[in-house]
C-alpha cells in the first residue's frame, strides 16, 4: 500500500485520533445514559412506537366490523365511545374459536411443564451424576439439536397412526416435548454445571439424597435458566402451527390453526381475526411478565466466598 500523502512532511499531519481505550462504544454510552431523564423519554417513545401495531390490533378488535372496513383504526381515538366488546362476545359464542383457545392451553401448558421437568432431571444427571458414557450421551443430545422437525413428520405420522395418537392433543404434546427436550437439556445442563460443586457437597453432608439436592438446591438455583427455558418453550409451542396442522384434527386444533381456517372461510372476517389474534398474543405476554424477574435476578450472588 502506498501512502505518499501521509509521508509527505509538507502536508499538515492529521489531527490526533482520540484514544481508542478511552472512547466508549455508542451502545455503552447509551446504556450509561439510561439513568437520565431525556433517555427515559426517548426509550418510552421507542417502546410506544414498537407497541403501535399491538395497540392497533387491540383497538381494531374493539371496533364495529362495519366501521373497520371504512376507516383506519386510529379514527376511533377521536370518538372512544364507539369502542365495543361485541367482537369478543361473538368470539366467545364461536365454538370453534373457544375450543381452539382451550386446545392451545391444553397443548402448551403440558408441553412446557413436561419439558421443564424431564429436561431439568436429565440436565442434573448430565451435570452432576457420574455414570459411564455420560459425556458421550450428552454429545448425542447436543447433536439432536440440529435435527430438523421436518425429518420426523412422516415417521411420526406412521407411528401416531398405528398407536391412535393421530389427531389427538396428546400426540401434539408428545411431539413438542420430544423436540423441545434437546435444547432444554443443553441449556439446563450448562447452567446447572455452573452451580458451585461445594453447594451440592454441602447439601450431601447435610444429609441430602440426590433427589433432595435436586429439589432443594438445583431447582431453586436453576430458576433463572428454567424460567428462560419455560418462556422459550411456551412461546414456541403457543405459536406453533406446523405441528398442530399435521397432527391435530379439527377437534384438537389450537388457536393458530383455527385463526387460519377462519380467515380462509370468510375472507375479510376481521371481527373474528382481530380479537382472536389479540387473545393469542396477550397470553404469552402475560407469561413473560410473570417470569421476567427471574431473567434479571442474579440468584447466584453471594453463594460462595
Amino acid at each position: 500500500m502506498s501512502a505518499p500523502a501521509a509521508s509527505d512532511p509538507t502536508k499538515p499531519s492529521p489531527p490526533p485520533r482520540p484514544e481508542m481505550g478511552i472512547r466508549r462504544g455508542l451502545a455503552s454510552r447509551i446504556v450509561g445514559r439510561t439513568g437520565g431523564g431525556l433517555a427515559a423519554v426517548l426509550l418510552a417513545l421507542i417502546a410506544l412506537f414498537w407497541l403501535m401495531p399491538t395497540f392497533g390490533l387491540l383497538v381494531s378488535s374493539l371496533r364495529d366490523p362495519q366501521e373497520m372496513s371504512k376507516s383506519g383504526w386510529w379514527k376511533v381515538l377521536g370518538k372512544p365511545s364507539d369502542l365495543t366488546f361485541s367482537n369478543y362476545d361473538k368470539l366467545l359464542d364461536n365454538k370453534d374459536m373457544t375450543r381452539a383457545f382451550f386446545n392451545t392451553i391444553w397443548i402448551t401448558v403440558p408441553s412446557t411443564l413436561l419439558v421443564i421437568l424431564i429436561g431439568s432431571l436429565a440436565a442434573y444427571a448430565f451435570a452432576w451424576l457420574e455414570f459411564p458414557g455420560r459425556d458421550w450421551l450428552f454429545l448425542v443430545v447436543v447433536g439432536l439439536l440440529v435435527v430438523p422437525v421436518q425429518v420426523a413428520l412422516i415417521p411420526i405420522s406412521k407411528l401416531y397412526g398405528d398407536t391412535g395418537l393421530f389427531g389427538t392433543i396428546t400426540g401434539v404434546v408428545l411431539f413438542h416435548v420430544a423436540f423441545g427436550l434437546p435444547f432444554a437439556v443443553f441449556l439446563l445442563r450448562n447452567y446447572f454445571a455452573g452451580i458451585p460443586r461445594d453447594l451440592l457437597e454441602a447439601a450431601r453432608m447435610d444429609g441430602g439424597t440426590d433427589l433432595t439436592i435436586f429439589f432443594r438446591v438445583i431447582l431453586p438455583l436453576g430458576l433463572p435458566a428454567i424460567a428462560s427455558l419455560g418462556i422459550f418453550q411456551f412461546l414456541w409451542v403457543w405459536n406453533d402451527m406446523l405441528i398442530a396442522l399435521i397432527y391435530a384434527d379439527t377437534e384438537s386444533a389450537p388457536l393458530t390453526v383455527a385463526l387460519q381456517s377462519q380467515s380462509r372461510a370468510f375472507g375479510a372476517n376481521i371481527d373474528v381475526l382481530a380479537p382472536g389474534a389479540f387473545l393469542s398474543l396477550i397470553v404469552p405476554v402475560l407469561v413473560f411478565f410473570g417470569f421476567q424477574r427471574y431473567f434479571v435476578q442474579g440468584v447466584m450472588a453471594g453463594a460462595v466466598k
Binding site: 457437597e201 447435610d206 466466598k305
Partner: protein, 403 residues
C-alpha cells in the same frame, strides 16, 4: 462424638494422580487435630475421604466403631465447613443453618430452638433473616460454622475455613473457633496450610508432604523435636536456619560443630539426647538453628562463652516492633536437600533455593526490639547451643538415638 481413625488410607485419582499414600491417623474423641502441609500435599483429599465426598482407594476410615468406606456422606454423621463456606444463596441465614435439621425431619420447634441457640453462640442472632449475599465475609464464615454445630455431629471437618478472610479477621475467627470447639468438645479434623493456624489451634498437628504423613505430635513437640528437615523447616516462622556443618571431636572427647570458619561446641546434654550424633564425628551434617536461639550478645552484656558465638555481618534488619529480624551471612554452605526445595516450592520461591555449592548462607536471627544491630555492621550472636538441631544430610532425618 467419636474417634476418627484412618488406617492405611490411600488415594489414587482416576487420572492416575496419587494424592495420599498409606495415611495412618487417629483423631481421638474430642480432639482437635490439624492436618497441615504445603499446597497440593493431599490434605483436602484426605479430609474429603473422611467426609465421603471422595472414594477411598486404599485402607479404611472409621468413625466411632464403624468402618465408613461404603457409607454415603449423608449417613456418616459428620459436618463439614468448606473453604468457600458453600452457603445456599437462596436461603436466609436461619434456613441455611437449619437445612441439615430440616432434611433430617426434626420437629419445627426443635429446629427453631437449635438454630436460635447456634445463632446466639456465634453472634448471628440479628442476621437470621438475611441472605448470604447480604453478609460480610466474617458473618458468612460464622453461618458456615453454625450450619455445622447445629447438627451436633460425631465430628467436624474443616477445610481451610479461614483462608478467605483478611488477616485481622482471621486471627479473630481463629480464636472463636478455638473457643467454640473447646466448649463443644467435638472431634475435629482441621485442614490448613498455615502453620501458625496449625500451631495455635491444634491439640495435635499432623504434617504431610506429598501425600505422606511426616509427623503427628502436639505443637510444642513438633517445634522442639521435628523428626526431619521438612517438618523442621515447615513449622516455625521465620523458618529454622539450616546449614551444612561438620562434626568434630577433640582429644578431650568433646564434640563441636564447624559452621564455616567458626566452631560451636556441642553440649554434653545434646549428645546424651542424641546418642547417634557421636557416630557423625568427622562427617558433615546439617545443623538447624531456630532464629530465636540466636541472641544479640551486645544486649546481654556478658561476653558469651567461647564455642557459643557466631560473628557475622548484618545484611538486612527488619524491625517488627516487638522483635527485630536480623539477616546475616555466615561462611558455611547452605543445606539444600529435596525437603528444602519442597519447602521453597510451597512459598513460591523456587528460584531462591540457595546454591548448595555457595560458600555463604543466610541466617535469620530474632533479636529483642532494643537491639543496636545495623545493616552493614557486624553482629555478635550468642547461640543457644543446647537447642541445636542436627539432621542427616542424606536422609534428612533428625539425628537421634537410632544410628
Amino acid at each position: 462424638m467419636a474417634e476418627v481413625v484412618l488406617d492405611g488410607v490411600g488415594k489414587v485419582y482416576t487420572d492416575g494422580t496419587r494424592a495420599v499414600t498409606s495415611l495412618d491417623l487417629t483423631v481421638a474423641d474430642g480432639e482437635f487435630l490439624v492436618l497441615v502441609g504445603p499446597s497440593g500435599c493431599g490434605k483436602t483429599t484426605a479430609l474429603r475421604m473422611v467426609a465421603g465426598l471422595e472414594e477411598i482407594s486404599e485402607g479404611t476410615v472409621s468413625i466411632g466403631d464403624r468402618v465408613v468406606n461404603r457409607v454415603p456422606s449423608r449417613d456418616r454423621d459428620v459436618a463439614m465447613v468448606f473453604q468457600s463456606y458453600a452457603l445456599y444463596p437462596h436461603l436466609n441465614v436461619r434456613d441455611n443453618i437449619g437445612f441439615g435439621l430440616r432434611l433430617r425431619k426434626l420437629p419445627k420447634t426443635e429446629i427453631r430452638e437449635r438454630v436460635d441457640r447456634a445463632a446466639r453462640t456465634l453472634g448471628l442472632a440479628e442476621h437470621l433473616g438475611r441472605k448470604p449475599r447480604q453478609l460480610s465475609g466474617g458473618q458468612r464464615q460464622r453461618v458456615a460454622m453454625g450450619r455445622a454445630i447445629v447438627r451436633e455431629p460425631q465430628a467436624f471437618l474443616m477445610d481451610e475455613p479461614l483462608s478467605n478472610l483478611d488477616a485481622k479477621l482471621r486471627v479473630q475467627m481463629r480464636a472463636q473457633i478455638a473457643r467454640l470447639t473447646r466448649e463443644l468438645g467435638v472431634t475435629t479434623l482441621y485442614v490448613t496450610h498455615d502453620q501458625t493456624e496449625a500451631m495455635t489451634l491444634g491439640d495435635r498437628v499432623a504434617v504431610m508432604k506429598k501425600g505422606v504423613l511426616q509427623q503427628v505430635a502436639p505443637p510444642q513437640e513438633l517445634y522442639d523435636h521435628p523428626v526431619n528437615l521438612f517438618v523442621a523447616g515447615f513449622i516455625g516462622s521465620p523458618a529454622m536456619n539450616l546449614l551444612t556443618g561438620a562434626l568434630t571431636r577433640d582429644e578431650a572427647g568433646d564434640f563441636a560443630v564447624d559452621v564455616g570458619s567458626q566452631r560451636l561446641s556441642v553440649p554434653a546434654e545434646v549428645l546424651a539426647a542424641r546418642p547417634a550424633l557421636a557416630g557423625y564425628a568427622g562427617r558433615s551434617l546439617i545443623v538447624g538453628i531456630r532464629p530465636e536461639d540466636l541472641h544479640d550478645a551486645a544486649l546481654e552484656g556478658a561476653e558469651p562463652a567461647p564455642g557459643a558465638v557466631l560473628r557475622a555481618e548484618a545484611d538486612l534488619v527488619e524491625a517488627m516492633g516487638s522483635e527485630v529480624l536480623v539477616h546475616v551471612s555466615v561462611d558455611a554452605p547452605p543445606a539444600v536437600t529435596e525437603d528444602v526445595q519442597e519447602l521453597a516450592r510451597d512459598v513460591g520461591a523456587e528460584e531462591q533455593v540457595p546454591d548448595p555449592d555457595a560458600a555463604h548462607s543466610e541466617l535469620v536471627a530474632r533479636f529483642g526490639p532494643r537491639t543496636r544491630a545495623r545493616e552493614g555492621a557486624g553482629v555478635v550472636m550468642r547461640v543457644a547451643t543446647d537447642r541445636l538441631h542436627f539432621f542427616d544430610p542424606e536422609t534428612g532425618l533428625s539425628i537421634t538415638e537410632d544410628a
